[in-house]
Symmetry: C2
Subunit: 407 residues, 2 copies
């Protein structure tokens, strides 16, 4: 059985898929290294005249008036990828290479390599641009973006490792029924994750989003008895502009297969959670056709859950690439493209208005280009667009409004 | 002298330009007629098979699960424009046709006619589609949208009249220094306004936004001594993708001329307020090159302010149309178009993330197509785009980051 928290997902209480699963209703005090966002592995280009001048512009702006007060310190660009972004103290700890932290980081970096390699192979033209960065107090990340390829118009695959400090309320929220009277101080936490959004060009080829993340808190120092916490979160979801039943069924079957290896309750629960989370409330519709989504998952054996999220992350390629192979070269018309662009507009609406990782990242001064790499290259808003009843566009909209069981 | 409220504008405390100037940090209980948004005169199309079927989709969705719980009741489409949207009780009041309410409504409807006529004339092809609607308890509006014209890709000009109820806190906020100890109950209010966003096709032709609104509260019933309040808000601002000094100077000169007829402090104060309000905080840049913006304006003679906002609204055509005439047929390249589209992306970011009218409207269940008519037809997000130093694109960005004095 899942805990009530895990079985009662809601779009208003669950954390964002593409960002670390902080309870975002709490304000988070971040110490150095102050980043917590997984979505926004802070990227820095190799300095050039252009970017130097550009930052001069920004510096002038921030010294002049109403610029933001970032909660997140500047990242440091790195020339080479370090073997790990874990702190030395983590590494030198006993069994460090076997720690869940270390194995999770290793897994997400392998998945990043595998997904980027698969994307480049299928794209046949575009190459990922890589940015590596670190923070003085530990942690860092690798951002990869492929833009204007042959198949994908924008594809971002990011991993990051974050050390931060969680306020007591957020910590208590992680396990509300235990030690409810203990009032610990701020709790250091560790988080690592992989986050990706892949937007193809062909309107018959679907957008994919996936994100898997792991959290750990230290035991709070001023509440000796309070337990250390850990949890996993994540999901994979598909956003087509047109429905091909075989594609959606295949996608969900792969998700279900990954889930069923561990618990037959997982797929139905996480499928519903996904439908609930990716809800564009003001439209009354989901942004796409779902998949799986979960958060705060800790009511199982930790090793089992590590294996489960690994299985989910490894399922991205078999779930997605065969669909792209079938659709990437299909002929299409301006009408198909315009509808894809309207659906991309909905994607923008979800990400800017509802996605907790994005909205939190914008408020706290995260690196904006990394936060918004999830946005499509292009999007469209037509006034009062109504697809004709029974049309292919109408069928997609229907499925976004009334989520279906695909398998 | 302006009051401290009027002279201390800030992007975090001022209300949205394109929406009625409710202090949005308060939750607003709306009674029938429950709409308060000026931006989104709620539009209904003539029922057709398509739209009927579409609403069937929506009804299914709302009966099934996690659909929004709108605070705003459904508007009623009207076949013809009524002579006024004021309540009968307002109309039958003594001097009703001379009331500020009545004269403000008359003014904004005349301005809507004049602006739409000027747009259609210059466009030479597109025609505005009009939707008229009302609410059972009084109030209503006229929405007009021109889409995919010869010159404008999307142009919306909306007027609306709203009767609502303001919570006591919001009412006290309107005049915090007076009767501070009185705790009145909910206060009925009246609001009317015109709101417009005009997005041209040619990347050298700027986007224009303007919005003028008038608020009145009734005297609170359970606090007999508490005063009745009124205030004006609004502004006009220009958002080009490329700077033509003569255009921006002309635009600001017209704004200044309108202001100077009433008070020589107005232009410098409202110019700065505009720069502060239309700030895309996470980018550290304004969405455009400003204009004027003000809110909660009541520290002057009411007749003078009515004349002032009338002058501002009447200045829209002479401020904007000559610029469009000069730019609408200029040859441009794909590069120019791509930059315009990137700037349109910033427009989307401001409206979805910061604009108080939009964010409040989305949360409270306002008619989404009307709320989001302000979004451009198309927009673009490139990863980490950096204009070349000294380029025309760089100059625009510079001016958005470091606001300039144009006259």
């Amino acid at each position: 059985m899942l805990t009530p928290r895990a079985t009662a997902p809601s779009s208003s209480s669950s954390s964002s898929s593409p960002s670390i699963a902080l309870p975002f209703s709490y304000s988070v005090t971040l110490r150095s290294p102050p980043s917590f966002s997984l979505r926004l592995p802070l990227v820095s280009r190799t300095p050039s005249t252009k970017t130097v001048k550009s930052s001069t512009l920004r510096t002038q702006a921030s010294s002049s008036s109403s610029s933001p007060s970032p909660m997140i310190e500047k990242e440091i660009p790195e020339g080479e990828k370090p073997p790990t972004f874990l702190r030395d103290t983590d590494e030198s700890a006993s069994n460090s290479t076997n720690s869940v932290r270390a194995r999770f980081e290793k897994m997400i970096r392998e998945v990043q390599d595998a997904v980027c390699s698969a994307i480049e192979t299928v794209d046949g033209g575009g190459k990922f641009k890589e940015d590596v960065w670190s923070r003085p107090g530990g942690g860092g990340g690798i951002s990869r973006v492929l833009q204007d390829g042959a198949v994908w118009e924008k594809a971002g695959v990011n991993v990051s490792v974050v050390y931060g400090v969680m306020p007591p309320d957020a910590y208590r929220a992680a396990k509300p029924t235990e030690n409810g009277d203990v009032k610990p101080g701020p709790v250091p936490f560790f988080a690592a994750g992989i986050s990706s959004v892949l937007h193809p060009k062909n309107p018959f080829a679907p957008t994919l989003h996936f994100n898997y993340r792991y959290f750990e808190t230290d035991a709070p120092k001023d509440a000796p008895g309070a337990p250390r916490q850990w949890w996993f979160g994540g999901g994979t979801d598909l956003t087509p502009a047109y429905i091909f039943e075989e594609d959606v069924k295949h996608f969900h079957l792969v998700q279900k297969a990954a889930c069923d290896k561990f618990n037959s309750d997982f797929y139905p629960q996480f499928k519903k959670w996904c439908d609930d989370y990716f809800f564009v409330k003001h439209r009354g519709e989901r942004r796409g056709l779902g998949g799986i989504f979960f958060d705060d998952l800790n009511a199982y054996d930790q090793e089992m859950l590590l294996s489960f999220v690994t299985e989910c992350a490894n399922s991205v390629i078999p779930a997605y690439i065969p669909i792209i192979e079938r659709r990437k070269d299909m002929p299409f018309t301006d009408r198909h493209k315009a509808w894809q662009q309207l659906r991309r507009g909905r994607y923008v609406e979800f990400n800017l208005v509802y996605d907790r990782g994005t909205t939190f990242g914008l408020k706290t001064g995260g690196r904006i280009e990394s936060i918004l790499v999830s946005l499509p290259l292009t999007a469209r808003w037509e006034y009062d667009h109504q697809p004709e009843e029974g049309s292919d566009e109408w069928k997609l909209l229907d499925a976004c409004i009334n989520p279906k069981e695909w398998i």
